[in-house]
Subunit: 207 residues, 3 copies
């Protein structure tokens, strides 16, 4: 299943960049930037590995993964001095990182024999939990829980498509590619046109 | 030990309702409502299963559990339109959910051979951690940590009573029933008459 | 490897005191004080044990550890009535607790066969995660992530020194002692002379 390993490798790079940018924006120092990069890049996959009882954890079995995050954190201290606006840089790594980790998470859960609903749920957790931790560390209400452009929904949709294509015995590489495109494009569209679900009810509306 | 499974099933339903209500009150959308319901209903039990190294996790081995939470989250979007005040609805699911999960947690820890103090501690963690996560997501200081009506104390008391009754070889069903009543009534009384422990010292009192 | 067990025992005592003081300062009641003490003393080691798949968890296999925390929480309710300023009491338990848990974490990770970088990373996580949880519960932005006196850096440095001394086959007890002194003195100096890394860039500077 080597395609999943490639996707995982890319996911670590992309999510480390996302986490590092997020932390740099908040004025953190190099340790904080590494810590947030680490939490964003490894949070979701760590939960998945713990939940599925996979050992060793993917970043303990691949010690170069956290070293990549460290290198990105250190490099950012040089490169970001020449960058004026970080916010526009966040969009693509956010969508791409979520898509890559969602597919890895779904794939590993299927390998572990999980029921389809659980596999897609674990994929979504793997894809979105890093961002939730990043938001929490940066002391904001995680956007996952507020009426903001769809993210978990994009992730969950893409993981069902990936699961469905595998289920109908389409090849792994095509299933991954289609799943990836669906999640990234769905997410970018959701941000661009501000697609949100309405709140279940008005906040505080009569308490 | 099929009684524990029934209690667990009820606990999932009750805590999902509690989490969904909590999130709906905050004006979250259907994804946020499901996510909070999921975190409240499965947070404590997940910690317990990880701490005791029980595999598969209870909601991975019972995929219908998170489906129940999803159904409750979706239904709430319809039903809550006709409900004016959510706050009074929170009280009973809060007390009942904590009681049910405390007993399940204590029971599984005893099965796993834990020392009585650890079993009751794990029961209390199982019963209260979901609520802590719910509070944290909704961005409030978890009431577990502030001088507010007793909750962990009710949970811990009930789990010792349950453990004690089993220890004296009283039947499982009676031990569960008495433990349940003690926790629920103790908690409802604590809320009604505002039973609190005093703070260890004045906050900021001389820092 | 009985030296590690002694260090762990001391770490539990020191970190329980630190957590209890932290919570007492915030005006929490005895349950909150115990809960924070527990989270600070066991948070880091629990992550380490879960990440390395060590069973049983160190505080489940040593039920007297959480009992020590409980005793300290209860005693604090008596002793702290006679203490005027808690803040100056925090400094030493903070530095010492971090140092002790860092070394235990590094040592167990080496025993588990982890790569040196991962072993030192896990040591640092074991040493600092408890404090992060404590800060989060007390509703402050964890100092780990803000430009504040070095802590993770002290921890990481000391764990490399400990690893290096073991690597060159120096005796365990000397390696532990030197690692301990390095972390504690480095940390105390960092606080005293306010050694900070600069932020990667100005916070909000052009967003």
């Amino acid at each position: 299943m080597s395609y999943l390993v490639i996707i995982e490798f890319l996911a670590v790079i992309v999510c480390s960049i996302y986490g590092v940018l997020l932390a740099a924006r908040k004025g953190m120092d190099v340790v904080g930037v590494f810590a947030v990069g680490f939490a964003v890049a490894f949070g979701g996959g760590t939960l998945r590995d713990l939940f599925l009882d996979r050992t060793p954890l993917f970043w303990i079995g691949n010690p170069h993964y956290p070293m990549i995050t460290l290198a990105i954190a250190v490099l950012s201290g040089v490169i970001l001095r020449f960058v004026k606006h970080i916010k526009p840089l966040l969009l693509v790594p956010d969508a791409l990182g979520m898509a890559l980790f969602t597919l890895v998470g779904t794939g590993y859960a299927i390998e572990a024999g999980a029921n389809p609903f659980i596999a897609c749920l674990l994929g979504t957790i793997t894809g979105t939990f890093g961002g939730v931790v990043g938001d929490m560390i940066c002391n904001e209400v995680p956007t996952l829980f507020t009426p903001s452009p769809l993210n978990a929904t994009c992730s969950f949709t893409g993981s069902w498509i990936y699961w469905g294509m595998l289920h109908f015995e389409l090849p792994q590489e095509w299933s991954l590619l289609v799943g990836l495109l669906v999640i990234v494009l769905f997410r970018l569209a959701a941000v661009k046109w501000n697609w949100c679900f309405p709140g279940i009810r008005e906040p505080g509306g009569g308490a």
